[in-house]
Protein backbone atom coordinates (compact mmCIF):
# COMPACT_ATOMS: atom_id res chain seq x y z
CA UNK A 1 0.00 0.00 0.00
CA UNK A 2 2.72 2.43 0.99
CA UNK A 3 4.53 1.86 -2.29
CA UNK A 4 1.46 2.77 -4.28
CA UNK A 5 1.16 6.01 -2.33
CA UNK A 6 4.75 6.75 -3.14
CA UNK A 7 4.12 6.16 -6.79
CA UNK A 8 1.08 8.41 -6.66
CA UNK A 9 3.08 11.19 -5.13
CA UNK A 10 5.78 10.79 -7.68
CA UNK A 11 3.24 10.80 -10.44
CA UNK A 12 1.63 13.98 -9.19
CA UNK A 13 4.92 15.69 -8.73
CA UNK A 14 5.84 15.08 -12.32
CA UNK A 15 2.73 16.76 -13.64
CA UNK A 16 0.48 13.83 -14.33
CA UNK A 17 -3.16 14.67 -13.94
CA UNK A 18 -5.10 12.56 -11.59
CA UNK A 19 -8.10 11.54 -13.55
CA UNK A 20 -11.29 11.14 -11.57
CA UNK A 21 -13.38 11.97 -14.60
CA UNK A 22 -12.02 9.17 -16.72
CA UNK A 23 -13.27 6.70 -14.15
CA UNK A 24 -16.86 7.90 -14.26
CA UNK A 25 -19.39 5.15 -13.83
CA UNK A 26 -21.72 3.89 -16.47
CA UNK A 27 -24.53 3.49 -13.96
CA UNK A 28 -26.75 0.65 -12.78
CA UNK A 29 -29.32 1.13 -15.51
CA UNK A 30 -26.59 0.64 -18.11
CA UNK A 31 -25.68 -2.72 -16.64
CA UNK A 32 -29.33 -3.75 -16.37
CA UNK A 33 -29.66 -2.99 -20.08
CA UNK A 34 -26.52 -4.93 -20.88
CA UNK A 35 -27.92 -7.79 -18.81
CA UNK A 36 -31.22 -7.74 -20.67
CA UNK A 37 -29.56 -7.71 -24.10
CA UNK A 38 -27.26 -10.53 -23.04
CA UNK A 39 -30.26 -12.49 -21.80
CA UNK A 40 -31.99 -11.93 -25.14
CA UNK A 41 -28.96 -13.11 -27.05
CA UNK A 42 -28.46 -16.17 -24.85
CA UNK A 43 -32.12 -17.09 -25.13
CA UNK A 44 -31.97 -16.73 -28.90
CA UNK A 45 -28.87 -18.86 -29.18
CA UNK A 46 -29.94 -21.51 -26.67
CA UNK A 47 -33.62 -21.63 -27.64
CA UNK A 48 -33.24 -25.22 -28.83
CA UNK A 49 -31.75 -26.45 -25.59
CA UNK A 50 -33.94 -24.50 -23.22
CA UNK A 51 -36.94 -26.30 -21.75
CA UNK A 52 -39.32 -24.45 -24.06
CA UNK A 53 -42.38 -25.75 -25.79
CA UNK A 54 -42.16 -25.90 -29.54
CA UNK A 55 -43.05 -22.54 -31.06
CA UNK A 56 -45.11 -24.24 -33.73
CA UNK A 57 -46.77 -26.98 -31.66
CA UNK A 58 -50.50 -26.38 -31.69
CA UNK A 59 -52.18 -27.31 -28.41
CA UNK A 60 -55.92 -27.27 -29.21
CA UNK A 61 -56.84 -27.93 -25.59
CA UNK A 62 -55.50 -24.50 -24.67
CA UNK A 63 -56.36 -21.95 -27.32
CA UNK A 64 -56.21 -18.21 -26.62
CA UNK A 65 -55.56 -18.63 -22.92
CA UNK A 66 -54.03 -15.82 -20.86
CA UNK A 67 -50.73 -16.05 -19.02
CA UNK A 68 -50.60 -19.06 -16.70
CA UNK A 69 -48.06 -21.34 -15.11
CA UNK A 70 -48.33 -23.81 -17.95
CA UNK A 71 -48.07 -21.16 -20.68
CA UNK A 72 -46.12 -18.30 -19.14
CA UNK A 73 -47.36 -15.71 -21.60
CA UNK A 74 -50.48 -17.55 -22.72
CA UNK A 75 -51.22 -19.08 -26.12
CA UNK A 76 -52.44 -17.80 -29.45
CA UNK A 77 -55.53 -18.87 -31.38
CA UNK A 78 -53.79 -22.00 -32.62
CA UNK A 79 -52.75 -22.98 -29.11
CA UNK A 80 -49.06 -22.13 -29.67
CA UNK A 81 -47.06 -21.06 -26.64
CA UNK A 82 -46.41 -17.30 -26.89
CA UNK A 83 -43.38 -17.32 -24.58
CA UNK A 84 -41.70 -19.85 -26.80
CA UNK A 85 -42.67 -17.89 -29.90
CA UNK A 86 -41.30 -14.65 -28.47
CA UNK A 87 -37.99 -16.34 -27.69
CA UNK A 88 -37.75 -18.00 -31.08
CA UNK A 89 -38.96 -14.78 -32.68
CA UNK A 90 -35.97 -12.92 -31.23
CA UNK A 91 -33.77 -15.22 -33.28
CA UNK A 92 -35.01 -13.74 -36.53
CA UNK A 93 -34.59 -10.19 -35.27
CA UNK A 94 -31.12 -10.84 -33.96
CA UNK A 95 -29.96 -12.81 -36.98
CA UNK A 96 -31.22 -10.21 -39.40
CA UNK A 97 -29.80 -7.28 -37.48
CA UNK A 98 -26.38 -8.83 -36.87
CA UNK A 99 -26.13 -10.16 -40.41
CA UNK A 100 -27.17 -6.88 -41.96
CA UNK A 101 -24.79 -4.90 -39.78
CA UNK A 102 -22.00 -7.30 -40.67
CA UNK A 103 -22.55 -6.46 -44.33
CA UNK A 104 -23.12 -2.75 -43.64
CA UNK A 105 -20.02 -2.32 -41.51
CA UNK A 106 -17.96 -4.80 -43.48
CA UNK A 107 -18.27 -2.64 -46.57
CA UNK A 108 -19.24 0.79 -45.23
CA UNK A 109 -16.62 1.18 -42.49
CA UNK A 110 -13.46 0.42 -44.50
CA UNK A 111 -14.71 2.49 -47.42
CA UNK A 112 -15.59 5.38 -45.13
CA UNK A 113 -12.18 5.34 -43.47
CA UNK A 114 -10.38 5.05 -46.77
CA UNK A 115 -12.35 7.94 -48.27
CA UNK A 116 -11.70 10.11 -45.23
CA UNK A 117 -8.00 9.34 -45.31
CA UNK A 118 -7.34 9.55 -49.04
CA UNK A 119 -9.79 12.33 -49.94
CA UNK A 120 -9.42 13.63 -53.47
CA UNK A 121 -11.08 11.90 -56.41
CA UNK A 122 -11.56 8.60 -54.63
CA UNK A 123 -13.58 10.28 -51.90
CA UNK A 124 -15.50 12.50 -54.30
CA UNK A 125 -16.65 9.64 -56.53
CA UNK A 126 -17.42 7.22 -53.72
CA UNK A 127 -19.27 9.81 -51.68
CA UNK A 128 -21.40 10.87 -54.64
CA UNK A 129 -22.39 7.27 -55.26
CA UNK A 130 -23.25 6.81 -51.59
CA UNK A 131 -25.29 9.99 -51.48
CA UNK A 132 -27.28 8.90 -54.50
CA UNK A 133 -28.18 5.72 -52.60
CA UNK A 134 -28.93 7.70 -49.47
CA UNK A 135 -31.34 9.91 -51.36
CA UNK A 136 -33.47 6.84 -52.03
CA UNK A 137 -35.62 5.90 -49.02
CA UNK A 138 -34.10 2.66 -47.76
CA UNK A 139 -37.35 1.18 -46.47
CA UNK A 140 -39.15 1.59 -49.77
CA UNK A 141 -36.20 0.10 -51.61
CA UNK A 142 -36.11 -2.90 -49.31
CA UNK A 143 -39.86 -3.42 -49.60
CA UNK A 144 -39.66 -3.20 -53.38
CA UNK A 145 -36.75 -5.60 -53.71
CA UNK A 146 -38.16 -8.10 -51.21
CA UNK A 147 -41.57 -8.11 -52.90
CA UNK A 148 -40.05 -9.27 -56.16
CA UNK A 149 -37.15 -11.38 -54.93
CA UNK A 150 -39.01 -14.59 -54.12
CA UNK A 151 -39.05 -17.06 -52.49
CA UNK A 152 -38.14 -15.06 -49.44
CA UNK A 153 -35.51 -16.33 -47.06
CA UNK A 154 -33.67 -15.02 -44.05
CA UNK A 155 -30.54 -14.79 -46.18
CA UNK A 156 -32.17 -12.54 -48.76
CA UNK A 157 -33.59 -10.24 -46.09
CA UNK A 158 -30.16 -9.92 -44.51
CA UNK A 159 -28.51 -9.15 -47.84
CA UNK A 160 -31.06 -6.52 -48.83
CA UNK A 161 -31.06 -4.71 -45.50
CA UNK A 162 -27.30 -5.07 -45.25
CA UNK A 163 -26.72 -3.44 -48.61
CA UNK A 164 -29.22 -0.72 -47.81
CA UNK A 165 -27.28 0.11 -44.65
CA UNK A 166 -23.88 0.48 -46.35
CA UNK A 167 -24.27 4.19 -47.27
CA UNK A 168 -25.45 5.04 -43.77
CA UNK A 169 -22.48 3.35 -42.15
CA UNK A 170 -20.19 4.88 -44.75
CA UNK A 171 -21.40 8.36 -44.01
CA UNK A 172 -21.05 8.08 -40.24
CA UNK A 173 -17.64 6.41 -40.33
CA UNK A 174 -16.32 8.77 -42.99
CA UNK A 175 -17.19 11.87 -41.02
CA UNK A 176 -15.78 10.39 -37.83
CA UNK A 177 -12.59 9.35 -39.59
CA UNK A 178 -12.29 12.73 -41.25
CA UNK A 179 -11.94 14.54 -37.94
CA UNK A 180 -9.32 12.00 -36.90
CA UNK A 181 -7.44 12.09 -40.21
CA UNK A 182 -6.74 15.80 -39.91
CA UNK A 183 -5.26 15.48 -36.42
CA UNK A 184 -1.57 16.12 -35.99
CA UNK A 185 -0.91 12.63 -34.71
CA UNK A 186 -1.87 11.21 -38.07
CA UNK A 187 0.55 13.58 -39.82
CA UNK A 188 3.09 12.74 -37.13
CA UNK A 189 2.74 9.03 -37.83
CA UNK A 190 3.14 9.77 -41.51
CA UNK A 191 6.38 11.68 -41.09
CA UNK A 192 7.59 8.86 -38.92
CA UNK A 193 7.40 6.87 -42.10
CA UNK A 194 4.29 4.84 -41.30
CA UNK A 195 2.62 3.28 -44.33
CA UNK A 196 -0.95 4.20 -45.23
CA UNK A 197 -2.13 0.80 -44.11
CA UNK A 198 -0.51 1.21 -40.73
CA UNK A 199 -2.00 4.64 -40.28
CA UNK A 200 -5.45 3.30 -41.15
CA UNK A 201 -5.17 0.39 -38.74
CA UNK A 202 -3.30 1.96 -35.84
CA UNK A 203 -4.24 5.61 -35.90
CA UNK A 204 -7.64 5.86 -37.56
CA UNK A 205 -9.36 2.62 -36.59
CA UNK A 206 -8.91 2.77 -32.80
CA UNK A 207 -9.98 6.40 -32.72
CA UNK A 208 -13.04 5.83 -34.90
CA UNK A 209 -14.05 2.61 -33.11
CA UNK A 210 -15.97 4.17 -30.18
CA UNK A 211 -18.21 6.07 -32.58
CA UNK A 212 -18.49 2.96 -34.72
CA UNK A 213 -19.62 0.83 -31.78
CA UNK A 214 -22.30 3.22 -30.64
CA UNK A 215 -23.54 3.55 -34.20
CA UNK A 216 -23.51 -0.25 -34.49
CA UNK A 217 -25.86 -0.51 -31.53
CA UNK A 218 -28.20 2.10 -32.96
CA UNK A 219 -27.94 0.32 -36.31
CA UNK A 220 -28.93 -3.02 -34.80
CA UNK A 221 -31.93 -1.35 -33.19
CA UNK A 222 -32.91 0.22 -36.49
CA UNK A 223 -32.66 -3.07 -38.34
CA UNK A 224 -34.79 -4.80 -35.70
CA UNK A 225 -37.48 -2.17 -36.30
CA UNK A 226 -37.07 -2.48 -40.04
CA UNK A 227 -37.40 -6.25 -39.91
CA UNK A 228 -40.46 -5.78 -37.71
CA UNK A 229 -41.95 -3.45 -40.27
CA UNK A 230 -41.22 -5.87 -43.09
CA UNK A 231 -42.70 -8.76 -41.11
CA UNK A 232 -45.71 -6.64 -40.34
CA UNK A 233 -46.16 -6.21 -44.07
CA UNK A 234 -45.67 -9.93 -44.54
CA UNK A 235 -42.33 -9.49 -46.28
CA UNK A 236 -40.14 -11.18 -43.72
CA UNK A 237 -39.73 -14.88 -42.93
CA UNK A 238 -42.65 -17.09 -43.89
CA UNK A 239 -45.11 -18.51 -41.38
CA UNK A 240 -45.08 -20.53 -39.23
CA UNK A 241 -41.55 -19.35 -38.27
CA UNK A 242 -42.20 -16.71 -35.62
CA UNK A 243 -40.64 -13.29 -35.61
CA UNK A 244 -41.63 -10.36 -33.43
CA UNK A 245 -42.93 -8.51 -36.43
CA UNK A 246 -45.10 -11.24 -37.87
CA UNK A 247 -46.45 -12.09 -34.41
CA UNK A 248 -47.66 -8.52 -34.07
CA UNK A 249 -49.06 -8.74 -37.59
CA UNK A 250 -50.98 -11.95 -36.82
CA UNK A 251 -52.29 -10.55 -33.56
CA UNK A 252 -54.03 -7.66 -35.25
CA UNK A 253 -57.07 -9.56 -36.46
CA UNK A 254 -57.55 -11.12 -33.02
CA UNK A 255 -56.85 -8.05 -31.00
CA UNK A 256 -60.32 -7.88 -29.43
CA UNK A 257 -60.34 -11.56 -28.66
CA UNK A 258 -56.87 -11.85 -27.12
CA UNK A 259 -54.90 -8.63 -26.60
CA UNK A 260 -51.95 -10.56 -25.08
CA UNK A 261 -51.02 -11.63 -28.59
CA UNK A 262 -49.97 -8.08 -29.46
CA UNK A 263 -48.64 -7.07 -26.07
CA UNK A 264 -45.82 -9.58 -25.58
CA UNK A 265 -43.98 -9.43 -28.89
CA UNK A 266 -44.32 -5.63 -28.86
CA UNK A 267 -43.01 -5.51 -25.32
CA UNK A 268 -40.09 -7.78 -26.21
CA UNK A 269 -39.14 -5.63 -29.19
CA UNK A 270 -39.66 -2.42 -27.29
CA UNK A 271 -37.46 -3.46 -24.37
CA UNK A 272 -34.79 -4.77 -26.71
CA UNK A 273 -34.64 -1.48 -28.63
CA UNK A 274 -34.80 0.63 -25.51
CA UNK A 275 -31.88 -1.20 -23.97
CA UNK A 276 -29.79 -1.07 -27.14
CA UNK A 277 -30.38 2.63 -27.60
CA UNK A 278 -29.64 3.33 -23.97
CA UNK A 279 -26.40 1.36 -24.10
CA UNK A 280 -25.35 3.13 -27.30
CA UNK A 281 -26.14 6.49 -25.80
CA UNK A 282 -24.24 5.88 -22.59
CA UNK A 283 -21.26 4.49 -24.44
CA UNK A 284 -21.11 7.49 -26.71
CA UNK A 285 -21.26 9.85 -23.76
CA UNK A 286 -18.63 7.78 -22.00
CA UNK A 287 -16.18 7.75 -24.87
CA UNK A 288 -16.87 11.27 -26.02
CA UNK A 289 -13.68 12.57 -24.49
CA UNK A 290 -13.49 16.29 -25.05
CA UNK A 291 -10.38 17.78 -26.65
CA UNK A 292 -9.11 19.14 -23.38
CA UNK A 293 -8.91 15.74 -21.80
CA UNK A 294 -7.25 14.07 -24.77
Amino acid sequence: MSSSIEVNEMVEEAGVHDRPERKKKLGLLFWICVGWITLNFLAAILANVLPLQSPIFQDYSAVNVGPSLHHLLGTDDLGRDIFSRVVYGSRVSIEVSLGAMLIGFGAGAPLGMLAAYRRGKFDAILSSVMYVFLAFPAIIATIAVLSFWTPRSLFKIIVVIGIASIPLVYRVIRSAAMTVATKDYVVAAKVQGATDRRILMKELLPNVAPIGVSFLLVGIATVVTLEGALAFLGLSVNAPTPSWGNMINESLSRLQLNPWLAVFPSLAMCLFLLCLNFIGDRLRAHFDVSEGKL
Partner: protein
Protein backbone atom coordinates in the same frame (compact mmCIF):
# COMPACT_ATOMS: atom_id res chain seq x y z
CA UNK B 1 31.56 25.39 -47.93
CA UNK B 2 30.78 22.83 -50.56
CA UNK B 3 27.38 21.40 -51.26
CA UNK B 4 28.33 18.02 -49.84
CA UNK B 5 28.70 19.40 -46.36
CA UNK B 6 25.31 21.07 -46.37
CA UNK B 7 22.57 19.01 -44.81
CA UNK B 8 19.79 20.89 -46.51
CA UNK B 9 19.88 22.96 -49.67
CA UNK B 10 16.67 24.68 -50.73
CA UNK B 11 16.60 26.43 -54.09
CA UNK B 12 13.83 28.57 -55.57
CA UNK B 13 11.19 26.71 -53.67
CA UNK B 14 7.63 27.71 -54.43
CA UNK B 15 4.42 26.21 -53.11
CA UNK B 16 1.21 27.27 -54.78
CA UNK B 17 -2.22 26.13 -53.71
CA UNK B 18 -4.94 26.09 -56.29
CA UNK B 19 -8.02 27.45 -54.64
CA UNK B 20 -11.44 28.15 -56.12
CA UNK B 21 -10.55 31.84 -56.09
CA UNK B 22 -7.29 31.37 -57.98
CA UNK B 23 -3.71 30.33 -57.32
CA UNK B 24 -2.41 31.12 -53.86
CA UNK B 25 1.38 31.45 -53.69
CA UNK B 26 1.95 30.43 -50.06
CA UNK B 27 5.70 30.20 -50.52
CA UNK B 28 7.68 31.74 -53.37
CA UNK B 29 11.29 31.94 -54.47
CA UNK B 30 12.73 30.65 -51.23
CA UNK B 31 16.38 29.61 -51.17
CA UNK B 32 18.46 28.79 -48.15
CA UNK B 33 20.70 26.11 -46.79
CA UNK B 34 21.51 24.51 -43.51
CA UNK B 35 24.75 23.08 -42.21
CA UNK B 36 25.19 20.00 -40.10
CA UNK B 37 24.56 20.63 -36.44
CA UNK B 38 23.17 24.09 -37.00
CA UNK B 39 19.97 25.68 -35.71
CA UNK B 40 18.08 27.84 -38.14
CA UNK B 41 15.18 30.03 -37.08
CA UNK B 42 12.32 30.85 -39.41
CA UNK B 43 10.26 33.77 -38.13
CA UNK B 44 7.29 35.67 -39.41
CA UNK B 45 3.75 36.63 -38.57
CA UNK B 46 0.88 34.18 -38.74
CA UNK B 47 0.17 33.48 -42.37
CA UNK B 48 3.64 34.43 -43.56
CA UNK B 49 4.13 30.96 -45.01
CA UNK B 50 6.56 29.57 -42.48
CA UNK B 51 4.53 26.48 -41.68
CA UNK B 52 3.88 25.78 -45.36
CA UNK B 53 7.59 26.22 -45.99
CA UNK B 54 8.57 23.77 -43.28
CA UNK B 55 6.01 21.24 -44.49
CA UNK B 56 7.12 21.63 -48.08
CA UNK B 57 10.72 21.05 -47.07
CA UNK B 58 9.56 17.84 -45.39
CA UNK B 59 7.65 16.87 -48.50
CA UNK B 60 4.31 17.02 -46.71
CA UNK B 61 1.59 18.40 -48.90
CA UNK B 62 -2.05 17.72 -49.33
CA UNK B 63 -2.52 15.19 -52.06
CA UNK B 64 -4.24 17.50 -54.49
CA UNK B 65 -4.43 21.11 -55.59
CA UNK B 66 -0.89 22.05 -54.81
CA UNK B 67 2.09 22.78 -57.02
CA UNK B 68 5.62 22.66 -55.73
CA UNK B 69 8.54 23.82 -57.81
CA UNK B 70 12.21 24.33 -57.11
CA UNK B 71 14.45 21.97 -55.25
CA UNK B 72 14.88 20.69 -51.73
CA UNK B 73 18.02 18.61 -51.37
CA UNK B 74 17.97 16.89 -48.01
CA UNK B 75 21.22 15.08 -47.36
CA UNK B 76 21.41 14.28 -51.07
CA UNK B 77 17.74 13.32 -51.44
CA UNK B 78 15.56 15.42 -53.73
CA UNK B 79 12.30 15.92 -51.87
CA UNK B 80 10.42 17.88 -54.54
CA UNK B 81 8.74 15.51 -56.92
CA UNK B 82 9.56 12.39 -54.89
CA UNK B 83 6.75 9.91 -54.48
CA UNK B 84 5.17 9.25 -51.15
CA UNK B 85 6.95 5.92 -51.04
CA UNK B 86 10.36 7.44 -51.70
CA UNK B 87 9.80 10.10 -49.09
CA UNK B 88 8.85 7.45 -46.57
CA UNK B 89 12.45 6.28 -46.73
CA UNK B 90 13.70 9.58 -45.30
CA UNK B 91 10.78 10.41 -43.03
CA UNK B 92 11.61 9.52 -39.48
CA UNK B 93 15.15 8.45 -40.28
CA UNK B 94 16.65 11.51 -41.98
CA UNK B 95 14.14 14.13 -41.00
CA UNK B 96 11.54 14.27 -38.26
CA UNK B 97 9.03 16.82 -37.18
CA UNK B 98 7.52 18.07 -33.98
CA UNK B 99 4.25 19.91 -33.98
CA UNK B 100 2.74 22.97 -32.49
CA UNK B 101 0.13 21.41 -30.28
CA UNK B 102 1.28 18.50 -28.13
CA UNK B 103 -2.37 17.96 -27.19
CA UNK B 104 -3.16 16.67 -30.66
CA UNK B 105 0.15 15.26 -31.84
CA UNK B 106 -0.06 12.04 -29.86
CA UNK B 107 -2.57 9.30 -30.57
CA UNK B 108 -4.93 9.46 -27.57
CA UNK B 109 -5.71 5.75 -27.55
CA UNK B 110 -2.17 4.40 -27.80
CA UNK B 111 0.20 4.05 -24.87
CA UNK B 112 3.04 6.52 -25.24
CA UNK B 113 5.70 3.82 -25.18
CA UNK B 114 4.03 2.09 -28.12
CA UNK B 115 4.04 5.33 -30.08
CA UNK B 116 7.77 5.59 -29.62
CA UNK B 117 8.73 2.02 -30.28
CA UNK B 118 6.47 1.78 -33.33
CA UNK B 119 9.15 3.39 -35.48
CA UNK B 120 11.90 1.38 -33.80
CA UNK B 121 10.19 -1.90 -34.59
CA UNK B 122 8.83 -1.10 -38.00
CA UNK B 123 11.58 1.06 -39.43
CA UNK B 124 14.68 -0.09 -37.61
CA UNK B 125 13.60 -3.71 -37.29
CA UNK B 126 14.23 -3.99 -33.58
CA UNK B 127 12.55 -6.79 -31.68
CA UNK B 128 9.93 -6.03 -29.05
CA UNK B 129 12.28 -6.03 -26.09
CA UNK B 130 15.07 -4.03 -27.66
CA UNK B 131 12.52 -1.49 -28.87
CA UNK B 132 11.01 -1.17 -25.43
CA UNK B 133 14.40 -0.70 -23.84
CA UNK B 134 15.30 1.95 -26.40
CA UNK B 135 11.94 3.71 -25.97
CA UNK B 136 12.53 3.91 -22.22
CA UNK B 137 15.99 5.25 -22.93
CA UNK B 138 14.49 7.93 -25.17
CA UNK B 139 11.92 8.90 -22.55
CA UNK B 140 14.77 9.27 -20.12
CA UNK B 141 16.72 11.32 -22.64
CA UNK B 142 13.93 13.87 -23.02
CA UNK B 143 13.76 14.27 -19.28
CA UNK B 144 10.77 12.19 -18.27
CA UNK B 145 11.17 10.84 -14.78
CA UNK B 146 10.51 7.17 -14.01
CA UNK B 147 10.36 6.30 -17.73
CA UNK B 148 9.61 2.62 -17.09
CA UNK B 149 6.29 3.53 -15.53
CA UNK B 150 5.54 6.26 -18.03
CA UNK B 151 6.12 3.86 -20.90
CA UNK B 152 2.64 2.49 -20.50
CA UNK B 153 0.56 5.58 -19.75
CA UNK B 154 -1.83 7.15 -22.23
CA UNK B 155 -1.21 10.71 -23.50
CA UNK B 156 -4.31 11.91 -21.63
CA UNK B 157 -2.54 11.23 -18.36
CA UNK B 158 0.29 13.64 -19.11
CA UNK B 159 0.48 17.41 -18.99
CA UNK B 160 1.23 19.52 -22.06
CA UNK B 161 4.93 19.91 -21.37
CA UNK B 162 5.32 16.20 -20.72
CA UNK B 163 3.49 15.39 -23.91
CA UNK B 164 5.75 17.66 -25.92
CA UNK B 165 8.69 15.78 -24.43
CA UNK B 166 7.11 12.53 -25.57
CA UNK B 167 6.55 14.02 -29.03
CA UNK B 168 10.24 14.92 -29.13
CA UNK B 169 11.14 11.40 -28.05
CA UNK B 170 9.08 9.92 -30.89
CA UNK B 171 10.75 12.30 -33.32
CA UNK B 172 14.19 11.30 -32.09
CA UNK B 173 13.48 7.58 -32.25
CA UNK B 174 14.79 7.23 -35.79
CA UNK B 175 17.91 9.35 -35.02
CA UNK B 176 17.09 11.94 -37.68
CA UNK B 177 19.75 14.34 -38.91
CA UNK B 178 17.27 17.14 -39.24
CA UNK B 179 14.53 18.04 -36.79
CA UNK B 180 11.82 20.39 -37.98
CA UNK B 181 10.15 22.08 -35.03
CA UNK B 182 7.03 23.91 -36.10
CA UNK B 183 6.14 26.31 -33.29
CA UNK B 184 7.11 23.68 -30.73
CA UNK B 185 6.29 25.82 -27.73
CA UNK B 186 3.26 27.81 -28.81
CA UNK B 187 0.82 25.53 -27.03
CA UNK B 188 2.75 25.62 -23.75
CA UNK B 189 3.02 28.10 -20.94
CA UNK B 190 6.09 30.26 -20.60
CA UNK B 191 8.10 28.34 -18.02
CA UNK B 192 7.56 25.09 -19.88
CA UNK B 193 8.49 26.80 -23.16
CA UNK B 194 11.95 27.56 -21.86
CA UNK B 195 12.37 23.97 -20.64
CA UNK B 196 11.40 22.52 -23.98
CA UNK B 197 13.63 24.91 -25.92
CA UNK B 198 16.57 24.18 -23.66
CA UNK B 199 15.91 20.48 -24.10
CA UNK B 200 15.90 20.85 -27.88
CA UNK B 201 19.17 22.75 -27.76
CA UNK B 202 20.78 20.20 -25.50
CA UNK B 203 19.59 17.30 -27.66
CA UNK B 204 20.86 19.00 -30.78
CA UNK B 205 24.35 19.19 -29.30
CA UNK B 206 24.22 15.71 -27.90
CA UNK B 207 22.89 13.99 -30.98
CA UNK B 208 24.69 16.18 -33.51
CA UNK B 209 21.61 17.04 -35.50
CA UNK B 210 20.35 20.16 -37.18
CA UNK B 211 17.22 21.93 -36.07
CA UNK B 212 14.88 24.21 -37.96
CA UNK B 213 12.93 26.24 -35.45
CA UNK B 214 9.79 27.77 -36.91
CA UNK B 215 8.24 30.43 -34.72
CA UNK B 216 6.55 33.78 -34.55
CA UNK B 217 8.34 34.55 -31.31
CA UNK B 218 11.65 36.33 -31.75
CA UNK B 219 12.52 35.69 -28.14
CA UNK B 220 12.58 31.99 -28.95
CA UNK B 221 15.11 32.30 -31.75
CA UNK B 222 17.27 35.05 -30.27
CA UNK B 223 19.59 32.91 -28.22
CA UNK B 224 19.09 29.50 -29.70
CA UNK B 225 19.72 29.87 -33.40
CA UNK B 226 22.82 30.65 -35.34
CA UNK B 227 20.92 32.01 -38.33
CA UNK B 228 17.50 33.47 -38.91
CA UNK B 229 15.20 33.70 -41.89
CA UNK B 230 12.51 36.36 -41.74
CA UNK B 231 9.51 35.60 -43.90
CA UNK B 232 6.76 37.84 -45.12
CA UNK B 233 3.92 36.87 -47.46
CA UNK B 234 5.61 33.64 -48.43
CA UNK B 235 8.99 35.16 -49.27
CA UNK B 236 12.24 35.61 -47.47
CA UNK B 237 12.64 39.30 -46.74
CA UNK B 238 15.77 39.10 -44.67
CA UNK B 239 18.18 36.39 -43.67
CA UNK B 240 21.49 36.27 -41.92
CA UNK B 241 23.27 35.31 -38.76
CA UNK B 242 21.18 35.83 -35.66
CA UNK B 243 23.46 38.64 -34.57
CA UNK B 244 23.20 40.46 -37.90
CA UNK B 245 19.45 40.14 -38.05
CA UNK B 246 18.98 41.42 -34.54
CA UNK B 247 21.62 44.15 -34.55
CA UNK B 248 22.00 45.18 -38.18
CA UNK B 249 18.66 44.42 -39.76
CA UNK B 250 18.06 46.40 -42.90
CA UNK B 251 14.49 45.48 -43.71
CA UNK B 252 11.82 47.64 -42.02
CA UNK B 253 9.65 44.57 -41.49
CA UNK B 254 12.33 42.93 -39.37
CA UNK B 255 12.55 46.07 -37.30
CA UNK B 256 8.80 46.16 -36.90
CA UNK B 257 8.86 42.54 -35.75
CA UNK B 258 11.58 43.30 -33.22
CA UNK B 259 9.78 46.34 -31.91
CA UNK B 260 6.64 44.30 -31.58
CA UNK B 261 8.16 41.92 -29.08
CA UNK B 262 8.47 42.80 -25.42
CA UNK B 263 11.90 43.41 -23.94
CA UNK B 264 12.96 43.08 -20.35
CA UNK B 265 14.90 46.34 -20.61
CA UNK B 266 11.74 48.32 -21.39
CA UNK B 267 10.21 50.24 -18.50
CA UNK B 268 6.98 48.68 -17.37
CA UNK B 269 3.77 49.62 -19.19
CA UNK B 270 5.68 50.38 -22.39
CA UNK B 271 3.29 49.99 -25.28
CA UNK B 272 4.30 47.35 -27.77
CA UNK B 273 4.46 48.65 -31.30
CA UNK B 274 1.99 46.79 -33.41
CA UNK B 275 2.59 46.70 -37.15
CA UNK B 276 -0.23 48.72 -38.68
CA UNK B 277 -2.45 47.03 -41.23
CA UNK B 278 -2.76 43.37 -41.96
CA UNK B 279 -0.62 40.81 -43.80
CA UNK B 280 -1.49 40.95 -47.50
CA UNK B 281 -4.04 38.70 -49.10
CA UNK B 282 -1.94 36.08 -50.84
CA UNK B 283 -4.57 35.72 -53.55
CA UNK B 284 -4.07 39.34 -54.48
CA UNK B 285 -0.50 40.32 -53.72
CA UNK B 286 0.60 43.91 -54.30
CA UNK B 287 2.69 44.36 -57.42
CA UNK B 288 5.78 45.64 -55.69
CA UNK B 289 7.14 44.82 -52.26
CA UNK B 290 4.42 42.95 -50.39
CA UNK B 291 5.23 44.88 -47.20
CA UNK B 292 4.92 48.28 -48.91
CA UNK B 293 1.30 48.98 -47.85
CA UNK B 294 2.30 48.71 -44.19
CA UNK B 295 5.74 50.23 -44.44
CA UNK B 296 6.42 53.80 -43.34
CA UNK B 297 9.44 54.04 -45.66
CA UNK B 298 7.59 52.91 -48.76
CA UNK B 299 8.15 54.88 -51.97
CA UNK B 300 6.60 54.59 -55.41
CA UNK B 301 9.31 52.19 -56.42
CA UNK B 302 8.37 49.89 -53.52
CA UNK B 303 4.81 49.80 -54.79
CA UNK B 304 5.81 49.14 -58.39
CA UNK B 305 8.77 46.81 -58.31
CA UNK B 306 9.47 43.86 -56.09
CA UNK B 307 12.88 43.98 -54.43
CA UNK B 308 14.99 40.81 -54.65
CA UNK B 309 17.27 39.58 -51.89
CA UNK B 310 20.57 41.39 -52.05
CA UNK B 311 23.67 40.74 -50.03
CA UNK B 312 24.50 43.04 -47.14
CA UNK B 313 28.01 43.69 -45.95
CA UNK B 314 28.18 40.81 -43.49
CA UNK B 315 28.64 37.36 -45.07
CA UNK B 316 25.39 35.46 -45.42
CA UNK B 317 23.32 38.50 -44.55
CA UNK B 318 20.79 39.46 -47.21
CA UNK B 319 17.64 41.54 -47.36
CA UNK B 320 14.96 42.44 -49.86
CA UNK B 321 14.28 46.15 -49.66
CA UNK B 322 14.62 49.23 -51.84
CA UNK B 323 15.02 51.60 -48.91
CA UNK B 324 16.97 49.61 -46.36
CA UNK B 325 17.54 50.96 -42.92
CA UNK B 326 20.98 52.49 -42.53
CA UNK B 327 23.74 50.27 -41.22
CA UNK B 328 24.57 50.92 -37.64
CA UNK B 329 25.88 48.58 -35.06
CA UNK B 330 23.13 48.62 -32.54
CA UNK B 331 23.22 46.85 -29.24
CA UNK B 332 21.66 43.45 -29.79
CA UNK B 333 18.09 43.39 -28.62
Amino acid sequence: MSIEQKLLVVKDLATTFHTPSGPLPAVGGVSFDLNQNETLGIVGESGSGKTVLSRTVMGLQPRANVDVSGSVLLNGFEVVGASEKEKRSIWGLEVAMIFQDPMTSLNPVMRIGKQIDEILRVRLGMDRQAAKARAIELLDLVGISSPEQRYSVFPGELSGGMRQRVVIATALAGSPKLLMADEPTTGLDVTIQAQILNLLEELKERLQMSVVLVTHDLGVVATRTSRIIVMYAGRIVEMGSTRDVFANHRMPYTRALLEGSPKVSNPSHTRLLAIPGRPPNLLNLPKGCSFAPRCSFATDRCREERPELEAASAPGHAFACWNPLPVKDRVPA
